[in-house]
């Protein structure tokens, strides 16, 4: 007969012992095995962000080589074939390996901390998603260095990317890179939705959710409904190329515009996967520098949701010159202009939040200003190209290159840089140097505008996109030289950021738990946070919980300390509902990612790989799901 004993709970221990017990249960061992098996959302989130920034530098170097090539007429730094690969690698890397992953996985790091829980909903899936993403990115860049980089543009239009014109394995590499990155993106989206729905701290009702968390949630929903489009289309592309299907082959009843519809049904929401989290970052940073709550919280939340919905009705504006019916063009012009309304509401709310406040002009806030200025310029040219006659004139010119970089860099990279300065102390326990930060901002602001503003004029002068060189008589030389100088300055701003990061990490002065005196829950725990995030689960009674009660944090007790345990709450009211175990470190996600990645890679060379790979895939996933009888399963 066994005697049932009551498990040890956090209510029985003082803070020091509790820290020790929870660290034992939730900690990751500092060994290679620990590194491969960890399921801690902070370690995986940090790993994701660092990897995405590594890809940002690779994509940035590709851009710099292109700018050097275009700095003057008749340049010979790279030839046309390398140039084709460079612009494809640049776009694909920036969209699929940097911007979407970095924005989604800032959520992997921040969401559990902001909502007061200890991990994401499916930690093993999270680990799996990282490894798949990493292998996909490495595959793409390895192929590039082997002269097999994709060369048909980041949207890989058929027939150029199809079996007839897409030589070698280049487009197959692109299509399979999509499978890796979208698999990982979808997995993270599922985790974020379930984490936000079911794991919020008690009292965090829907109207108290931090705005970044709202943004991450809306983005995750968009990913669920948009990413399947690119998975379906890239699978059709690879089937056309490898086994002779005819989805895009006009001669056998296929249609090249089917590709464009499917790609942009994903591709336009994708822009908002990047932009919406960025607006969430902005909304979450501003209150720390104005010392008051954000203005218009309900309007901001509704704007996020409205932008999410509207982003699904815009895709055809990428296809205005393909000869669509007039009614379709009018509808998509109207919807493209309509999306400016929720974006405008957000901008007015941010301005109102800062209006007449005693602003603390620190680096993150400078990047907020930079974001507003640059994004508004990009937004205005966006409204211009929503109009079919203007779009017809500037389509495939540098005007579009300028527009999309103002929207994407202005609308997402500037907020990201601000967020790096703002949350760096939480992630690494060190503040970044403020003076270097301010210099970083001004270099980025000047470099960015010098690079991309002249491109508006080049576009209006008729310079087309994706040309590897031009003749001196075109008169595009001086403006291109200016853009190249700007690109060098912009690149230098990132090198300065890197220097700031390295020197701050070597600094011996630790950051305090809440260096900005901010009000959201991630600042209630250590910098960096302990493996268990919160020793006791916080209780929330407002939107800025740390401002509501500045000297003490209300908490609930009763969670076990002998296993990884989470508090599950109800969806709308966030009332405590259940105590569930959370998985321990395990090698299965890494093994599953390895087997999946090898199968996907091999399938580029033989379709039979899918058949051979099925068995090992079934084995590793069975190993993953097989119960082990640990305390977390009680």
């Amino acid at each position: 007969m066994t005697i049932q004993t009551e498990p040890p709970r956090d209510s029985s221990f003082d803070d020091a012992v509790l820290d020790q017990r929870l660290t034992e249960v939730w900690g990751t061992k500092p060994t290679l095995w620990g590194w491969l098996t960890t399921v801690d959302h902070k370690l995986i989130g940090r790993r994701y962000i660092v990897t995405a920034i590594f890809f940002l530098f690779l994509g940035g170097i590709a851009a710099l080589v292109m700018r050097l090539q275009l700095g003057g007429p008749n340049a010979h730094i790279v030839g046309p074939d390398t140039y084709n690969q460079l612009f494809t690698m640049h776009g694909s890397t920036m969209m699929f390996l940097f911007a979407v992953p970095v924005m989604e996985t800032i959520g992997v790091f921040l969401v559990p901390l902001m909502i007061g829980t200890r991990n994401v909903a499916f930690p093993r899936l999270n680990a799996f998603s990282y490894w798949v993403y990493l292998f996909g990115g490495l595959m793409l860049w390895t192929a590039f260095f082997l002269n097999s980089g994709p060369d048909a543009g980041w949207f890989s239009y058929v027939p150029l990317a199809g079996p007839q014109y897409g030589i070698g394995k280049r487009s197959d590499i692109w299509a399979q890179m999509i499978t890796y990155t979208e698999l990982s993106g979808l997995a993270v989206a599922v985790e974020i939705i379930v984490t936000v729905f079911k794991m919020r701290a008690p009292g965090m009702t829907l109207d108290r959710i931090p705005l970044f968390v709202w943004a991450a949630l809306v983005t995750a929903f968009m990913i669920i409904f948009a990413m399947p489009a690119v998975m379906v289309s890239s699978t059709m592309l690879i089937l056309d190329r490898l086994v002779g299907t005819h989805f895009f082959n006009w001669a056998e009843g296929g249609d090249v515009l089917l590709w464009q519809h499917l790609f942009w049904f994903f591709g336009h929401p994708e822009v908002y996967f990047i932009f919406i989290p960025a607006t969430g970052l902005i909304s979450s940073m501003i209150p720390a520098f104005t010392r008051r709550e954000i203005f218009g919280y309900p309007a901001l939340v509704l704007s996020l949701i409205a932008t999410g919905f509207l982003s699904f009705g815009l895709w055809v504006h990428h296809m205005f010159v393909t000869g669509l019916p007039r009614l379709g063009e009018s509808f998509f012009t109207a919807s493209s202009m309509a999306v400016a309304i929720p974006s405008g509401i957000q901008i007015f709310c941010w301005i109102a939040s800062m209006w007449d406040a005693k602003l603390r002009l620190r680096t993150p806030l400078l990047f907020v200003f930079g974001f507003i200025i640059n994004f508004v310029i990009g937004g205005l040219t966006g409204v211009m190209v929503a109009s079919v006659p203007i779009d017809t004139q500037v389509h495939d010119t540098y005007f579009i290159v300028a527009h999309l970089h103002y929207v994407l860099i202005g609308g997402a990279v500037f907020p990201l840089l601000g967020a790096i300065y703002y949350w760096f102390p939480k992630v690494y326990g060190r503040l970044l140097n403020e003076r270097l930060g301010q210099l970083n901002f001004w270099l980025a602001m000047v470099g960015f505008n010098l690079t991309f503003f002249p491109m508006h004029l080049l576009g209006l002068m008729g310079m087309p996109r994706r040309i590897y060189t031009y003749q001196p008589e075109m008169g595009w030389g001086p403006m291109n030289l200016l853009a190249t100088v700007g690109a060098l300055i912009f690149f230098a701003s990132f090198l300065l950021l890197l220097f700031n990061i390295v020197s701050s990490l070597r600094s011996r002065t630790p950051a305090t738990d809440n260096p900005w005196e901010a009000g959201t829950l991630e600042w209630a725990t250590g910098s960096p946070p302990p493996p268990y995030n919160f020793a006791r689960i916080p209780v929330v009674s407002g939107r800025e919980p740390l401002w509501d009660r500045p000297n003490s944090l209300p908490v609930v007790t009763g969670l076990r300390v002998d296993r990884r345990e989470l508090l599950v709450s109800t969806l709308v009211d966030a009332k405590p509902d259940m105590l569930l175990g959370s998985p321990r470190p395990t090698i299965w996600p890494f093994a599953a990612a390895m087997v999946t990645s090898v199968t996907l890679l091999a399938s580029i060379f033989t379709p039979w790989a899918v058949v051979w790979g099925a068995l090992p895939i079934a084995i590793v996933f069975t190993g993953w799901f097989w119960p082990t009888g640990v305390k977390e399963e009680e």
């Binding site: 989206a189 989805f247 009843g253 296929g254 944090l553 259940m578 097989w626 119960p627």
Partner: protein
């Protein structure tokens, strides 16, 4: 930061079913994204059809019998699937084990018929775009059945192991049943699209 204890949650449940659990929401999220994939594949089929002079393109009509048998088998499995879910909620291990074995068989049966269904399409994937669209839809749904059957088999093994009598395993059985409903439901529009839409045009 000083903490102030305002409540104790030690007495809360440590397991549950349906929307109370994380796995149920995860399953729903995966069903949503897979459902979107099906909708887009169906959209691609209709798009190609709308651009074609005639449909099917240069191919005979598909034989609808194997697909109909699959539809009947899938729909016929629904009542047992729901019974199994109820037995799992009642934590009746014996009935759950029997139910899972039967559901595994009812999952394998349509896969066997599916082997006859591909040739009954009367068109190759590489014949023309119509054939490609048909094979794509049928391939997607076959993958769908296959993954759930493997999941059901693994779960059956787990329920026969020493880990079977665990509330979380019973919850897994209910979530697996929830997903099988989705497998059944997705087949019906695809079945209509593959076999009956060409007969309407």
């Amino acid at each position: 930061m000083r903490t102030e204890m305002v409540g104790d949650v030690a007495g809360l449940d440590t397991s549950g079913y349906g929307p109370r659990t994380l796995t149920w929401w995860g399953t729903l999220a995966f069903m949503s994204l897979e459902g979107m994939g099906f909708a887009l594949a169906a959209g691609a089929y209709l798009y190609l059809m709308s651009h074609a002079q005639r449909w099917p393109l240069n191919a005979p009509l598909p034989n609808y019998w194997p697909g109909t048998v699959v539809a009947i088998l899938l729909v016929a499995s629904a009542p047992l699937n729901h019974l199994l879910s109820n037995w799992a909620r009642a934590k009746d291990l014996k009935k759950v084990r029997i139910g899972l074995v039967l559901m595994s068989l009812l999952g394998i049966a349509p896969l066997i018929v599916r082997c006859f269904e591909f040739p009954a399409l009367h068109v190759g994937w590489d014949t023309n775009a119509y054939g490609s669209a048909l094979w794509f839809l049928l391939g997607l749904h076959t993958t769908h059945i296959l993954t759930d059957v493997v999941d059901t088999l693994v779960l059956t093994g787990a329920m026969f192991s020493k880990h079977g009598a665990n509330p979380h395993r019973f919850a897994d059985v209910t979530d697996n049943a929830f997903y099988w409903d989705f497998v059944i439901l997705t087949w019906l529009p695809i079945y209509g699209l593959i076999y009956w839409v060409p007969r309407l045009t």
